[in-house]
């Protein structure tokens, strides 16, 4: 468990962790900067400095390789370890070959040559490149970077690498502690690579498991609530690269791997959206899709407010004034909005940004609309958990007063906009006027929406049974191919199933709800057996080749009509190469993870001359471009944000809940006893916490759960900041994210909430 604290933030998930430990004798390792509630449950706890996860994980991989503890047969069969890479590929001083002056990489030397060496001996095969690269991450070096005591770290390496044996399996759990960094993608990749090296992907009990930050954030991502993907993880078309359907089809469809089916998924989506108007002749209305010409990530959007490019905003169940990075600057940007619509249960800080402390309402002209929303128990629909289970939820009670479900609001909104276009026209009315919107005249029927997401045959209207039935000729319509099958029976849809039988004993529960894709419970499950179809261990026999056919305990993630030899090199069916990437040519900041310091760091980079990720997105020249230099004397302490069990995210709901406010009434920051001693502080004192962006006042909790770490011979102190408070609601307090930097990961733009620099003064 790294960068995750489910005991606090995902207590129900912890139920299963507790069960696993009890029934299987599993050991729990927790790596976290401070001694969290999860750490208190661990068999082995190891501290690490915020922002040093890549080094930490690289070190474990190195330990596995150096001590021959990795799962060789798995690695050869199911990963690209044997692939030979371009002879000019190099890693020098923290940079990969092809670094351009523009600050990006030319990745031509990161490509495979097409040859393979299954003995893994070729000096330029992925395995040898990785081995050389990782050899720099020995225990002493990692300990010096991360502050993890060398002996404890070694114990962690030893214990975790014991799962490299075929009869064992290790489960990796991560959360925002891993992702919210300017090298967050590389952190997660390092964890995934470690799991691959140890043969822990695709097996019951294994995997790389994200504890998602919201109960339905998985569903939100699946259905396309991200700036760069359409439903089902099809890329949002770009104006430059994909001006036409032909260009999109050609550039986003690989020649091998499961994504060869992308055109079927996209055409079916367009048929669902534009109905009879979408025909082969007009490219199924592909031209109606908005195309992006610029970055539309969170910080970019706020930056665009300052430029007057973004004039209006919907904050739908979102509270960026508390939840976004560099929130002081975000509030500043929002003052330029002409209008703002907030859809929420309470008047959040975002809805009330114009009356934030220090703001002058007389000078803010934004027109704000607050639409009262129904909460999850007051509406019907599905939510998707981190295990990809789509579970239908029924309405328990009517929403109070004028509160309405999101669907009701969206439906009215669309109908009003359509009416406006019908009556008054517009520059480009077709995408609105030709949209298929037939979920009911007066009231929008959620089941009709579900049936459309599931997909149907255009001619008969009958639900499609699964995405394998989708076609690219316009004969099928489907809102999200991944969800195909979840509502394929109007009377008894799989997402409403609630039977917890588990005949295999492998916790598959196929008759409980529906897991995308195709009700498959474990992804890449071809890896649960060896190339010849024998389970790695009889206790985890998800499949077994009996000589003539497959014995199945899950929905196969491979072609089960074929004998094992024919699928052994295609276990990762979503990848064109069919084998998992220990070396990833498509990741923007490098094919293998390298340690970089956070943008704000108390120390120099011990590994190279690149202080931080050379591709980190810094929002240069904008109001978000505010960072303390490395080893800053003004901001000597490392800060990190965290969450409490009692409040949920920005506290928009929970700070209005009296029982929860009773449990966690006031904002505070947490520091070690040694720092408190140095600053003359005791618990309950007021402190001023300052960063390069802003400062606030809060009470201090002096705690032995936080301890300084020894990094490169220096004691590094830490300030832990919860981010649940704001100026609205029953319990008010400083906004933690006023202090966090906007600097983002180059692949995802996720901001570096989890590692920055601050100072603390007694008030």
């Amino acid at each position: 468990m790294i960068g995750a604290n489910p005991a606090s933030n995902h207590p129900i998930a912890f139920r299963w962790i507790t069960k696993g430990r009890e029934q299987k004798g599993s050991k729990l390792i927790v790596a976290d900067p401070w001694f969290t509630q999860s750490a208190a449950m661990a068999d082995l706890y190891v501290p690490l400095r915020p922002g040093t996860d890549t080094a930490f994980l690289n070190g474990i991989m190195n330990y596995a390789i150096q001590n021959n503890l990795f799962h060789r047969e798995y690695v050869v069969a199911y990963t690209n370890a044997s692939y030979i890479v371009h002879p000019d590929f190099k890693i020098e001083d923290g940079l990969f070959s092809g670094f351009l002056e523009s600050g990006k990489y030319d990745t031509s030397t990161w490509q495979y040559t097409g040859e393979k060496d299954p003995t893994l001996q070729h000096p330029n095969c992925v395995f040898q490149i990785l081995k050389r690269h990782l050899s720099r991450y020995d225990i002493k070096t990692v300990s010096e970077i991360t502050g993890a005591p060398a002996d404890v770290y070694e114990e962690v390496c030893k214990l975790y690498c014991s799962t490299g044996k075929p009869d064992r399996v290790g489960n990796a759990i991560y959360c925002m502690g891993l992702t919210q960094h300017t090298h967050g993608t590389q952190n997660v990749r390092a964890l995934a690579m470690l799991q691959l090296l140890l043969g822990n992907v695709g097996l019951p009990g294994g995997g790389v498991n994200a504890e998602r930050g919201e109960s339905n954030v998985q569903g939100a991502c699946d259905i396309g609530v991200l700036f760069h993907v359409l439903p089902g993880y099809n890329p949002v078309p770009s104006a430059k690269a994909h001006p036409t359907w032909a260009a999109y089809r050609e550039k986003t469809t690989p020649s091998t791997g499961y994504w060869v089916n992308r055109p079927k998924f996209l055409v079916s989506m367009l048929k669902a959206w534009y109905g009879e108007h979408a025909t082969g002749e007009n490219d199924f209305c592909y031209d109606f899709l908005p195309k992006t010409a610029a970055d539309h990530s969170h910080v970019s959007t706020f930056q665009d407010m300052t430029k007057g490019v973004v004039k209006g905003m919907f904050a739908w169940g979102q509270n960026p004034v508390v939840g976004g990075p560099s929130a002081v600057q975000a509030r500043e940007a929002m003052k330029n909005l002409e209008w703002l619509v907030c859809v929420d249960l309470f008047e959040t800080e975002t809805a009330a940004f114009w009356k934030a402390p220090g703001a002058d309402p007389a000078k803010i002209a934004t027109e704000v609309f607050l639409l009262p929303a129904a909460c999850s128990y007051e509406k019907e629909g599905s939510i998707t958990n981190s295990g990809r289970w789509i579970q239908w939820r029924w309405q328990a009670v009517e929403p109070p007063g004028e509160a309405r479900s999101d669907l009701w609001i969206a439906d009215r909104l669309f109908k009003a906009i359509r009416k406006e276009y019908q009556e008054n026209g517009g520059v480009f009315p077709d995408p609105i006027l030709k949209m298929k919107w037939d979920y009911g005249e007066a009231e929008c029927d959620v089941v009709k929406v579900a049936l459309e997401i599931n997909g149907y045959e255009v001619a008969t209207g009958a639900p499609v049974q699964s995405f394998t039935k989708l076609a690219d000729d316009g004969s099928t319509a489907c809102g999200d191919w991944l969800y195909s099958g979840y509502y394929n029976d109007v009377h008894n849809p799989p997402c409403k199933r609630r039977d917890n039988v588990d005949p295999s004993g492998l916790a598959c529960f196929h008759r409980w709800a529906f897991s995308w894709p195709a009700n498959r419970r474990i992804l890449y499950n071809r890896c649960s057996v060896d190339p010849s179809g024998r389970p790695w261990h009889p206790e985890r026999a998800l499949f077994r080749w009996n000589g003539t056919g497959w014995v199945k305990n899950d929905v196969p993630d491979f072609n089960a009509k074929l004998p094992p030899v024919e699928t052994a090199d295609k276990a990762f069916i979503m990848l064109p190469e069919g084998q998992a990437r220990l070396f990833a040519p498509g990741v923007k900041d490098g094919p293998v993870p390298e340690h970089y310091e956070p943008v704000e760091s108390p120390v120099g980079n011990r590994m190279s001359g690149q202080q931080h990720n050379p591709l980190a997105v810094l929002w240069k020249g904008s109001i978000f471009d505010k960072y303390a230099p490395a080893e800053s004397a003004d901001f000597p302490y490392v800060a990190t944000t965290f969450r409490l069990p009692e409040h949920y995210q920005t506290g928009g709901v929970t700070r209005n809940q009296p029982y929860l406010v009773e449990l966690a009434p006031e904002m505070f920051v947490m520091i070690s006893k040694t720092l408190a001693e140095k600053l003359g502080l005791k618990s309950g004192d007021w402190v001023r916490v300052a960063t390069a962006r802003s400062e606030f006042k809060a009470k201090v909790a002096v705690s032995s759960l936080v301890r300084p770490l020894t990094v490169q011979g220096r004691k590094i102190e830490m300030v832990c900041i919860p981010w649940h408070w704001g100026f609205q609601g029953l319990a008010t307090g400083a906004i933690g994210n006023d202090l966090t930097p906007a600097a983002g990961d180059p692949n995802t733009r996720i901001p570096e909430y989890k590692a920055f620099l601050c100072n603390v003064h007694k008030v």
Partner: protein
């Protein structure tokens, strides 16, 4: 049917405080105004509107630190002293095991029960305004309907387990025997004050988690009644005795409190 009880396995408690909220929810108790506490235990002590409370403990041993959450409420003594202390019989020990303050209308507000409770702050809470007592009643209204107490029903990790006390005691012994290196060899509530319906097992010594381990192992009523029941001036004798007992236990506790 034997008496019911709850086994609390402190090693499995993640401190989510779902139980604390579930208790308030089921019993419809209002939220109280609280302020910052460094330990995050809140409210800092039980009160009339919080009859179950999760206490957070940070235990330091050299350069090692441990953190534990301990849910506290009435322990439901097998032979409850509060019941004995009450002249008007506002209490009863139900056959199910719950000790219930069932008859508030006849309560005179004498507070002897509160003074008598050997677990001090743990058991009974007094409302100044209405001169009434409130304590955990093991969700007696749920028990009689075949439901578990609200806290147990909510607990996500299985740290709270509801069942017949004898079976729980057996299970507690088994858990300790299976993991002798992990658990302290002590089931709190097995013998304390003659036994309680709530049982606790832990990997941190109970004294370090705010438990009173110095209470006698014989039931207090047995102990006191032996001497007092025959006394002719019962009405005077008992209060004095309990008041004395209260002062004694309170002072002990205050001395100990310094350490926490």
């Amino acid at each position: 049917m034997g008496q019911y009880g709850v086994l609390v396995d402190i090693t499995k408690c993640i401190g989510c405080r779902g139980c604390q909220v579930a208790c308030k929810n089921w019993n419809d108790l209002p939220a109280t105004k609280t302020t910052f506490t460094a330990s995050r235990t809140n409210p800092p002590q039980m009160n009339f509107n919080n009859v179950t409370l999760v206490n957070f403990h940070t235990i330091e041993k050299g350069d090692k630190v441990q953190w534990r959450a301990v849910k506290m409420q009435c322990f439901h003594c097998l032979e409850p002293i509060c019941f004995e202390a009450c002249f008007v019989h506002a209490y009863k020990k139900t056959p199910e095991g719950a000790v219930v303050y069932f008859n508030p209308e006849i309560c005179t507000g004498c507070r002897y029960c509160q003074l008598a409770c050997p677990f001090l702050n743990i058991q009974l809470k007094w409302d100044e305004v209405f001169s009434r007592v409130r304590k955990c009643d093991m969700c007696y209204d749920r028990l009689v309907r075949g439901l578990k107490p609200a806290c147990v029903a909510t607990c996500p990790t299985g740290a709270l387990k509801f069942g017949e006390r004898d079976a729980l005691l057996k299970e507690a012994r088994e858990r300790i025997a299976k993991n002798p290196d992990k658990y302290v060899d002590h089931i709190f509530g097995e013998k304390e004050v003659g036994g309680t319906s709530w049982l606790y097992i832990s990997d941190v010594p109970f004294e370090e988690l705010g438990f009173r381990t110095d209470v006698m192992h014989e039931s207090i009523p047995k102990y006191t009644w032996k001497y007092i029941s025959k006394a002719p001036i019962l009405a005077v004798g008992l209060p004095i005795l309990f008041a004395a007992f209260y002062v004694y236990t309170k002072r002990r506790a205050e001395n100990e409190d310094g350490g926490h």
